[in-house]
């Protein structure tokens, strides 16, 4: 009896920190329409700052709480800096650029935290005066947990007062409903945006700080809490603070009881809960249906044209060059180009989903890693021959995409993106935790191709054939009726439904196809490296794919290949530095701010007109002229 009650209370205590972080994310998104990926990093910074401030000023009972508030303030300052230096310049840019930029911030914060606080997990300081335990029906319960239980509702009440009783709060709510209208009424928008961003950051920081005595501070907190926050926002209902509170409580309770009942399956339980709620209430517990249907816009509006003669020649030359590469370059470079080919297929599959489908997935690595693990598990446990395993990799990834996509396509825009990330994190955790099957963090080793394909040159040519074949297949699908139907759902939901297109089915099929193609890339990957680790399914890997698409430019079909090459080069250059994440993060932020069209996009913009890279681009301009009324 006591055990269950204590577990229940302990769940409520964990819910507070989660609620603070999730409500901050919700407020920032509501006002600025930016999904702040760095929100998990702010939470982590809150914990680290809290640790330091408690040491410096946290002597007494008052000092401790002052230190936590100082930590929240410090994170608020970091938020201010991020908003002021980066996001402010990107509010009008396509959402993808904002997301990539905040991902750059994640990388920067990770290495900054590593530099300042070191790689060791930090044990949280105990709260003075609250270090004791109370016994509830004989089961011990930390006093601090009881205090934490009160913090969540307290902040909820404070936020309610702020949003219903103050002018600023009402403006924030108004901006959440209709930004343009608020702007038209003469409200200083940039001040409002900055304010909302700082408030949201502080809430994340406070969340990280108050959980210190319970959970301490470590460098892996950011992604863990990020996925949980997304689940909370999606389950709680879009933009509902109260819903976020309910969802945080529900998920934390599920976690604490899950540990009691099924220790290794807590994430699976979370998955099931999320799935059930989304099936019963697609808008979340307290969410209302989206009025306008806010869509994630990736900056693709112009018509795609099939390849023109010049472009075909260009592609032919590139292929010939790649085919001849084994005769020209050393094996070291062949390995590197193999990486590029694998990543190009991976990025192209994501690009297909994003540009043709308008579906931005933040968890695409689930299928890349899924394909890799499918092949690796088949080889390890069923002694499957290399050829068959490579063939089954996309099938495994496609099945995973079918399960995940079945839930995700119920949502649209940014909520779709959040859900894909949350599911991908669940998939990663399953692989990470289920070490009996997957060897966990030690990975699966010795996954090599058959003898005939094991030479670097032969495998390179095989990878070239499969990757190029896959990319051509994707291109073919873009211009097939299926691709057109998908594009129709992206362009106008209303019209698509009115001409009998089953939007969800079209999107799900696209999701599965893209997942299968990513899985094929994953299969190629695992046999080229001989091993696979959970990293291949992780959030950073999903972001690698987004980054490649971004580097290549979203509106260019050949972009992903350019992006993969640029990414591989960048990664290879930076990995030699100790703080390579910091450099990569800074590079990403700089690229986003300097080249909002992506590298290939920028290059094409300047060269395309002269080279006629796409059929009909000249014709289009001509028609536009003719179409002008005389």
């Amino acid at each position: 009896m006591g055990v269950y009650l204590v577990q229940f209370l302990s769940g409520l205590a964990s819910a507070s920190a989660l609620f603070l972080a999730a409500s901050g994310l919700s407020i920032i998104f509501g006002v600025t329409r930016v999904v702040n990926f760095a929100h998990g990093s702010f939470y982590m910074l809150g914990a680290f700052f809290g640790y330091t401030f408690v040491r410096e000023v946290g002597g007494g009972a008052i000092g401790f709480w002052v230190a936590l508030l100082l930590a929240a303030l410090a994170v608020g300052l970091v938020g201010l800096l991020v908003e002021f230096v980066i996001l402010r310049r990107l509010y009008k840019a396509p959402e993808l650029f904002q997301l990539i930029a905040t991902f750059g911030v994640i990388l920067i914060v990770q290495d900054a935290a590593l530099w300042v606080w070191g790689p060791e997990d930090l044990l949280g300081p105990r709260a003075p005066g609250l270090t004791g335990i109370v016994r509830i029906f004989g089961t011990p319960m930390p006093v601090y947990d009881l205090v934490l239980i009160g913090v969540g509702p307290l902040v909820l009440a404070a936020l309610w007062l702020l949003f219903n009783r103050t002018r600023w709060g009402i403006l924030v709510r108004a901006a959440t409903e209709d930004r343009e209208m608020v702007g038209a009424l003469g409200v200083n928008q940039s001040l409002l945006f900055t304010g909302a961003f700082v408030l949201g950051s502080m809430l994340a920081g406070l969340g990280g700080a108050i959980q210190l005595p319970k959970g301490g501070a470590d460098l892996l907190m950011d992604f863990g809490i990020l996925a949980e926050m997304f689940v909370v926002v999606v389950v709680g209902g879009m933009g509902s603070i109260f819903g976020a509170f309910l969802a945080a409580v529900l998920i934390s309770l599920l976690n604490t009881f899950g540990i009691l009942i099924w220790p290794s399956g807590t994430l699976v339980l979370m998955f099931i809960l999320m799935a059930v709620i989304l099936v019963v209430r697609p808008t979340g517990l307290l969410g209302r249906p989206e009025s306008g249907g806010h869509k994630t816009e990736v900056g693709v509006e112009q018509a795609l044209r099939p390849a023109g003669p010049h472009y075909k020649i260009f592609i032919g030359l590139l292929l010939a060059l790649l085919l001849a590469a084994p005769l020209i370059v050393e094996e070291f470079y062949l390995v590197l180009i193999t990486d590029v080919l694998v990543l190009a297929l991976f990025a192209t599959s994501l690009h297909f989903l994003m540009s043709t489908g308008g579906l931005v997935s933040f968890g695409h690595a689930a299928f890349y890693g899924g394909g890799a693990y499918a092949a690796a598990l088949l080889v390890t446990y069923a002694a499957t021959p290399f050829e068959l395993a490579l063939l089954l990799a996309p099938l495994g990834a496609g099945l995973l995409a079918l399960v995940i996509g079945w839930f995700c396509v119920r949502l649209s825009g940014v909520y779709f993106a959040m859900l894909t990330l949350a599911f991908a994190q669940v998939a990663w955790s399953v692989v990470f935790q289920w070490s009996d099957l997957t060897n966990g963090d030690d990975g699966l080793l010795g996954i090599w191709p058959s003898a005939w394909a094991s030479g670097t040159q032969v495998y390179y040519l095989l990878a070239l054939a499969i990757s190029a074949g896959g990319i051509f297949l994707i291109r073919r699908v873009v211009f097939a009726p299926f691709g057109y139907g998908l594009r129709a759902t992206r362009d106008s939901n209303l019209r698509a439904a009115a001409i009998g297109i089953d939007i969800k089915r079209q999107q799900l099929a696209a999701f599965v196809f893209a997942g299968a193609m990513a899985g094929l890339a994953g299969g190629l990957f695992v046999f080229s490296k001989g091993s696979v680790f959970p990293d291949e399914m992780s959030i950073p890997r999903s972001f690698d794919a987004l980054l490649m698409v971004l580097l290549g430019g979203v509106d260019s079909l050949s972009g992903p290949f350019v992006g993969a090459a640029a990414f591989t080069y960048l990664h290879d250059e930076l990995i030699t530095f100790e703080y390579w994440r910091l450099l990569l993060g800074l590079t990403i932020v700089a690229l986003v701010l300097l080249f909002p069209q992506g590298l290939a996009g920028a290059a094409k913009h300047h060269l395309g007109r002269y080279l006629k890279l796409e059929a009909g681009s000249a014709g289009r301009a001509k028609q536009a002229d003719e179409g002008r009324p005389a």
Partner: protein, 265 residues
């Protein structure tokens, strides 16, 4: 089959609406509305702003689910079916604010319908470029847009978009066409052309058209029959002549403009 049965089949309305109701919260947007859309007729649905015209339309094509009532297409119940399903059964529609695919050309917009109708949208390997182009061009010719077939829809003027929408709506050879304010935002001459086209479609193809409209010249000039909604309820039904002289309509709808010191409805 007896002669009376054949006659009844011929008389059976295309669309039969009975006791249709819908409330949004406390607002009764549409209240117990019943009317028939006869085969081959051009029926206008009018009423002041907020009378429930668009709600009515959205219930007919399944975009909003009715609280109660029935909508039958040649005897088949439509309430509870999805917009896609209703479209497949032969109810096409155009929107008050046009909805097209801006990244596709005009011809491709029409070809999309043809692909959807033929259930080709899961075909992965055939090419969709120039697919059904001849049929699409024929439809565009019908609405006078063939010359602009290869322009992206995203750059068209509003009036042209309306005409593309009409071609799109005709794509699956519907039995019933719903047009929500078909001429809103068009120049006077364009309006007359478009309504003339709609009238031709009715007479040539035997289409049944239900449209809403604010421009009374258009309504009285083109509609074969008119029904009037006010505050969600149907208050009058008849020919242009009858509606013009209906005292209730004059009082609640047309009359408002004639009273000095009152804003026009």
């Amino acid at each position: 089959m007896s002669d009376t049965a054949t006659a009844r089949a011929a008389e059976q309305p295309s669309l039969s609406i009975r006791n249709l109701s819908k409330a949004f919260g406390g607002v009764q947007a549409v209240n117990d509305v019943s009317f028939d859309l006869a085969k081959g007729e051009l029926l206008a649905l009018i009423g002041p702003n907020g009378a429930g015209k668009s709600t009515c339309f959205n219930m007919l094509n399944g975009q909003i689910r009715a609280d109660s009532g029935s909508v039958r297409l040649a005897g088949e119940e439509l309430i509870g079916r999805s917009p896609a399903d209703i479209w497949r059964r032969g109810v096409g529609r155009t929107f008050q604010i046009t909805a097209t695919f801006p990244s596709m050309t005009v011809a491709e917009n029409v070809a999309m319908v043809l692909m959807s109708q033929r259930r080709e949208l899961f075909s992965l390997f055939r090419t969709a470029v120039h697919r059904h182009r001849d049929k699409a061009l024929a439809l565009l010719d019908l609405v006078g847009m063939a010359a602009q077939a290869d322009r992206p829809c995203g750059v068209l003027s509003y009036g042209d978009l309306k005409r593309v929408e009409l071609a799109v709506a005709l794509g699956n050879e519907p039995r019933v066409l719903l047009m929500d304010e078909p001429t809103a935002g068009m120049a006077p001459r364009e309006r007359i052309e478009l309504m003339g086209l709609a009238a031709r479609l009715v007479s040539d193809l035997g289409l049944s058209v239900l449209f809403t409209e604010h421009d009374m010249d258009i309504v009285f000039g083109h509609a074969g029959r008119i029904i009037v909604l006010s505050r969600g309820a149907l208050i009058a039904e008849g020919t242009a002549q009858e509606i013009r002289s209906n005292p209730l309509v004059l009082k609640t709808y047309l009359g408002e403009g004639q009273i000095y010191g009152r804003a026009e409805g």
